[in-house]
Point group: C2
Chain length 195, copies 2
């Protein structure tokens, strides 16, 4: 095999492993076995360990990779003509739609951290960073743009709301019907002077 073909094959193997890790860890939890991961990806353990130091590293990389999808599923398109308030509410409306999807099990970044119970685990670190970059920073920026009285506190409130709503939907304790999450977000925005 040429060096070029080998690189292409390795990239394909890597993609399949990342996808399998994201899917199985989300569905079954972070304790999913290396055996199951490799089987699902159609990859040998030897190939896996040539690409990833450990299952922990694979898990971390798969979360990193999944951020793109999360972005496209729950975040408003950058080009949409929406006000800061509408951009924030968009996320909660998307979350309410997600809650009705059979496979939905809540925010993958929260789940990983709850399951690992180890803030220093490589996957916990990635999950924490993605949550800050995708959500907390976004809420703070939109809050500032929308003239919120305290964008920092508003961002903390909104991520808390997001985590509570996604967790309860994920465990099937609440399907968020009646716009439960968006109506709570509206209250927070009103109180922050973004009415």
């Amino acid at each position: 095999m040429s060096a070029q073909a080998e690189r292409t094959e390795q990239a394909g193997t890597r993609e399949r492993l990342l996808k399998a890790a994201a899917q199985l860890a989300y569905r079954d939890g972070v304790n999913v076995g290396v055996e199951a991961l490799c089987k699902s990806a159609g990859v040998s353990k030897r190939s896996m360990y040539q690409l990833f130091e450990s299952k922990d590293e694979l898990l971390a990389a798969s979360l990193e990779k999944s951020a793109e999808r999360t972005l496209s599923v729950v975040m408003p398109p950058a080009e949409a003509a929406l006000s800061p308030r509408e951009r924030i509410l968009y996320i909660f409306a998307r979350l309410e739609s997600q809650a009705r999807v059979t496979e939905y099990q809540g925010c993958p970044y929260l789940a990983v951290q709850v399951e690992l119970k180890d803030t220093e685990h490589p996957a916990s670190r990635v999950a924490r960073r993605i949550k800050v970059e995708l959500f907390e920073d976004f809420f703070r920026t939109q809050g500032s743009l929308g003239g919120a009285s305290d964008p920092e506190t508003l961002a903390r409130q909104l991520v808390l709301l997001f985590d509570g709503a996604s967790a309860r939907a994920g465990i099937r304790a609440d399907d968020l019907h009646g716009g439960l999450a968006t109506s709570m977000a509206r209250l927070l925005l009103d109180a922050a002077g973004m009415g």
Copy 2:
């Protein structure tokens, strides 16, 4: 050994297993091994299986048992001279105190359900029921007593807030400083006409 002494010994063994299961599952997650549980309780596997059908049943029973402690830690004493609004806020103030405890890893009932990803697991069922009985029913009742416009929705909002706050504190994403949870609860109570 007399039948009486044997019953006392069995009860002690049972208590130790329930305590070990609650502690280890909370600290390390539901995948904690039977080996580790028995070792921590100072009990043989044989004794464990004489008392509990399976690890799953032990886990479920340990959550059931832990409800008493949860009640005493976060709920207002029944005899306290507090208004319905104050009773509700008491819970969130207690949660904010808990968030500063080093060993705090969030609500055990939420964690178990997030980790198991199986609503039919015996421990998930117990966790779900306790959450409804201890929190959702309590919030609804206090809402009704305090004249909330929609006690059902208020209860859903407050449990969501509780889960979001406890989850974020549990993963060390937010220490709830500045009364983050109580101030959000106040907004919800005000909006429900319980100002």
